[in-house]
Symmetry: C2
Subunit: 311 residues, 2 copies
């Protein structure tokens, strides 16, 4: 470590801290949860993710079945799994067609089995800051997308969420830059953070948007403002937390722009921060994958519990 003042926090450490709750919930179930994964490509990242899922599930009493399928058969396979009472949860390893067609595949997964939290109704709930599937009874929690939720669990672990504040407002006062505005990670993440009270600068190649609930959090959910003329140079010095996940050099975070003592989280497979980030950051999380798999299991358990509360 180049500087002893920066705390490097590994995903494995955070995953370990989240595991006991998951394990005790699994023990409380009447039978092993059943997760079915669908791999329809040769992407090495997807393959590795699938292998990790299998390994972690097995270690924790979850039955994981990996189906290697032709991508043209994928929607049929998903339909079968949707109807199959022996399948609790479904995960598809993307990219499949690596085009907008992949979204149609997401939509094929039943929202009652969607451990990734990418179904249209779930995504809509998330953007609207609707946290339950059955208001006003509020017994069944809406499922949140895995990677954004993993990052939120990381921020909770790092005490960026202030538990002195009320639930749903625990990021009030935090300014967070999120570099990446993809539909599966960056944009939902910005929305979730803003819904919890943060002022979020969402940065991608098209520019900067601010997600926030307005002065004093008067709005029930976030709204989005275009920040004309803004760029990383302007967002970084005012941000307490910087979360980045984009490949390539152009959006790499230059340490000189960071605020002294910033909290930095990388979710790209590339390293999105310069190695000298540790000279200036208070906390650095170099990767998040192991937390994401924990969240996958957590979503699966939530799905099973939601179903139980309906039965």
């Amino acid at each position: 470590m180049s500087n002893s003042s920066c705390k490097v926090v590994l995903a494995s450490t955070i995953a370990k801290s989240l595991l006991p709750e998951i394990q005790s919930e699994i023990k409380g179930l009447t039978e092993n949860p059943k997760l079915h994964g669908y791999l329809a490509n040769d992407d090495p990242g997807a393959r590795m993710y699938a292998d990790w899922t299998g390994k972690t599930c097995k270690e924790n009493g979850i039955d994981f079945v990996l189906h290697r399928v032709d991508r043209e058969d994928l929607e049929n396979e998903i339909e079968n799994a949707n109807a199959d009472k022996n399948v609790d949860g479904i995960i598809v390893y993307y990219p499949v067609f690596d085009s907008r067609r992949d979204q149609t595949i997401q939509w094929a997964v039943s929202m009652y089995k969607d451990v990734e939290g990418l179904s249209p109704q779930l995504i809509s709930n998330m953007y609207q800051n609707v946290r339950f599937l059955d208001p006003p009874a509020n017994t069944r929690k809406s499922i949140l997308p895995c990677t954004p939720l993993a990052i939120i669990k990381i921020l909770e672990h790092l005490h960026i969420y202030n538990t002195i504040l009320d639930y749903g407002r625990r990021l009030f006062g935090r300014r967070i830059t999120v570099i990446n505005r993809s539909e599966v990670v960056g944009r939902p993440l910005a929305a979730l953070l803003a819904n919890d009270g943060a002022e979020v600068y969402s940065v991608d190649i098209t520019g900067v948007q601010k997600f926030s609930r307005g002065s004093g959090l008067r709005k029930q959910k976030h709204d989005v403002e275009e920040m004309q003329g803004w760029n990383l140079e302007k967002c970084l010095p005012i941000s307490d937390v910087v979360i980045s996940g984009v490949p390539g050099e152009s959006f790499k975070v230059q340490t000189k722009f960071l605020r002294e003592g910033a909290v930095c989280i990388n979710f790209s497979t590339d390293k999105n921060f310069d190695p000298d980030v540790k000279d200036k950051a208070s906390i650095y999380v170099p990767a998040i994958g192991k937390v994401t798999i924990i969240i996958l299991m957590r979503n699966l358990i939530r799905i099973i519990k939601n179903r139980a509360s309906v039965d």
Copy 2:
């Protein structure tokens, strides 16, 4: 409350959370701690502070004796108390002469009985970021000044200190404005916060000074930089935390300059924040007195324990 998003945290709530530890420490002692107070003026604030000390001590098994003395006799009285084995701790209620002569009185109190933490050696340790009286053994903690330490305990309670970070660096990444630079509160407070890793803007009528340990906390203790041309308008919008205690209107915190979701703490008997602070702050602490008395007791116990570890 004008806005439900602001959490108003009362000193009584924080005091209550600190009390169990103090009470269990008192129970662990072989006899009741003995605190002697010296009141040599008719200041109503000092009188009230003395009454509160007496009441709180009595409730918690501390023997408190209040001496009403002529101010010309005060140094003699203190000398007697310094020598008296039946006196564990000494507190003088200021102002006495309300001039620099009061400092001579502070110096008369033995550092081994000084519950206020104002003795020259203790103050020097604090500014130098020396935390123990007996390095390198480090068994006897140096006593910190009461009001600054009370504010630190409040910041710990509010989770502004991040326990994920190492001890002594838990404010790394925080920007804090302290309005007041008196020798008994504002300046020691700024130093303590900076020694714990914060970037502190210390504001008084002469201008703004920045207390910090430099980039990446490379310095062992804080140093101080004059911020030419700076004022409250410049400090407030970049501060996560604003701590204020000055009488009168001229340094009153205007809500419009505060950062969205700032944490605001008032330690003046006047209210130093506009009533609409709650429209913008995430947390507001309107007064701190009850916490200060808890810290007085805590310092007394520490003094007794320090003595025991020498015996």
